[in-house]
Amino acid sequence: MKKIIFILVALILFSSIYILSGQVKNRVYKYFRVDRVISVTGEISKIKTEKSYHKRSFIVFDLIEKKEKKIYKIEVSPQWFYDLDLVEGNLIEVKGSLIKSGKDITLMAQSLTFEGKIVNFRDRNGFPLWRGNRRNKGMMKKMEKRRKRRH
């Protein structure tokens, strides 16, 4: 009896590892790497929302770099966290982690700087400010406005 249970448990374990490893192979994981953080200044050519990371709507910019006119894809934050009035044509400085995949150059934004303002999206280690701190920017900013309006 004990042998049968042992074989069953072993089978379940091996099959789980096999299934999971297949899923991992099929996914493309992107990590924020601190050693690949760069700053790019350019004009926003397009602002869009994309479904990514657990089917969440993510704010994504196309940015035309100022000097060499290279096009960068900027992954900013989930839509609920984003509360800026930026539009196409705005000049911004993006600090973020560089990811190259074929011809695509992507920056996972750590901060945006424009018109003398800095807006952070990730901390120094690249940890997203929207994780474990859901109100921090989106609703938080509205709360600040709410306070200001009443006082």
């Binding site: 709507s57 044509g89 911004i92 018109e115 303002k117 800095i118 952070n120 901390d123 474990g132």
Partner: protein, 368 residues
């Protein structure tokens, strides 16, 4: 023993789950020195500490929150206050980057013994829409309602309806032009009649009350210019028109000399010009400097002498205010440090409101 361990582990697991995704707690400590805390010629100085905390629980588009703050005055502890505000926010993103925002809350404010007449409580509602009219044009519009009940002095009770529309247009020259207009309609539903006794002292007659409506319209033009990414300049011009002054408002005016904010944005009439600069000299350090000039008239509010008697011939109060402000902030991982200073020079035809004020404040904000 086994039960205790299971209970403790379950509790830790529960707290970590709350902390991780939906639960959020923030504290802020701000201290300031002001050489004129009441903004009048008495020039009473004080050191004030403000401790604020907010707890938030977020579930999808909903956010439940509880804000609380304590104001502690070192030299004037009678003015210490405690405010609590529970509320709920709803934020729904629509197609594109458009959204609707709804906020419902309830405020309680309590002062220490001598100022309990200014205690209030009441609900407020805010509704806002952000909508992109085109790739470079953005519209924001909203409606706010607020009701305040002053249980110890019902003459102060008021309700406020505010409606505003704002259009932002961006140009390729990195120039943004904003036009905002709004209408505020404030009603004081039960103002006690003001009478004088034989000795000349004021008496408030609660049995005979009247109401007062103060419609106020404002319009604002803002031009901001980015120079590179680390320097921003902005200029604002604002006009406010008070269609009806503080008629029948003697009771309010008589009490307002201490703290009642009847000179808030919706009760004055006049204009404002602001010039400002924002600058990032080093990474993560932000500096803002601003100068504003106000010309404020107070329709229906007469200039009084030191005994509170209206001057003869009567004259409506009129102020000119110059204000300089400077702020510096530095962001760390979960920590914001900031320093602010404000200098005001207020000239008025009412000598009680001839004053200067300097405020220096510093604070730290932390999010867990």
């Amino acid at each position: 023993m086994k039960r205790t361990i299971i209970f403790t582990l379950t509790l830790i697991f529960f707290i970590f789950n709350l902390r991780g995704e939906e639960f959020n707690f923030g504290v802020e400590l701000n201290s300031y020195y002001s050489n004129n805390v009441f903004l009048n010629s008495t020039a009473i100085e004080d050191y004030v500490s403000v401790i604020s905390a907010d707890v938030n629980y977020t579930d999808k588009n909903l956010n439940f929150y509880l804000d609380a703050d304590v104001n502690l005055f070192r030299e004037n502890p009678d003015f210490n206050s405690f405010r609590v505000e529970p509320g709920i926010e709803y934020l729904k993103y629509l197609k594109g980057r458009n959204y609707i925002y709804f906020n419902l809350g309830y405020s309680f404010l309590n002062y220490n013994e001598s100022f309990t007449d200014f205690n209030y409580n009441g609900p407020f509602v805010q509704f806002g829409v952000k909508y992109y009219l085109s790739a470079s044009m953005l519209m924001k519009t909203g409606y706010n309602f607020q009701y305040r009940d002053y249980p110890n002095f019902s003459s102060f009770d008021f309700q406020n309806h505010t409606f505003f529309v704002e259009i932002n247009k961006f140009f390729r020259s990195q120039t943004t032009i904003r036009i905002q207009s709004g209408l505020n309609y404030r009603t004081y539903p039960h103002i006690a009649s003001l009478e004088t006794d034989m000795a000349g002292n004021f008496i408030y007659n609660d049995e005979e009350t009247n109401s007062m409506n103060v419609p106020n319209f404002y319009s604002l033009l803002r031009v901001s210019q980015g120079i590179g990414t680390r320097l921003g300049l902005f200029a604002e011009a604002e006009v406010r028109k008070n269609f009806r002054g503080m008629e029948n408002g003697d009771t309010l005016i008589n009490n307002s000399y201490v703290i009642y904010p009847y000179n808030d944005n919706y009760l004055w009439d006049g204009s404002r010009i602001t010039l400002g600069v924002r600058f990032i000299p080093f990474s993560e350090i932000s500096i803002t400097g601003k100068y504003s000039y106000f010309r404020k008239d107070y329709p229906g509010i007469m200039v009084m002498n030191e005994d509170g008697i209206i001057l003869d011939p009567s004259l409506e109060r009129s102020d000119q205010l110059s204000q300089f402000s400077f702020s510096l902030s530095k962001k760390f991982k979960s920590l914001d440090l900031y320093f602010n200073s404000v200098f005001r020079d207020n000239g008025s035809n009412d000598s009680f409101f001839e004053y200067n004020m300097l405020t220096l404040s510093a604070g730290v904000r932390y999010y867990f």
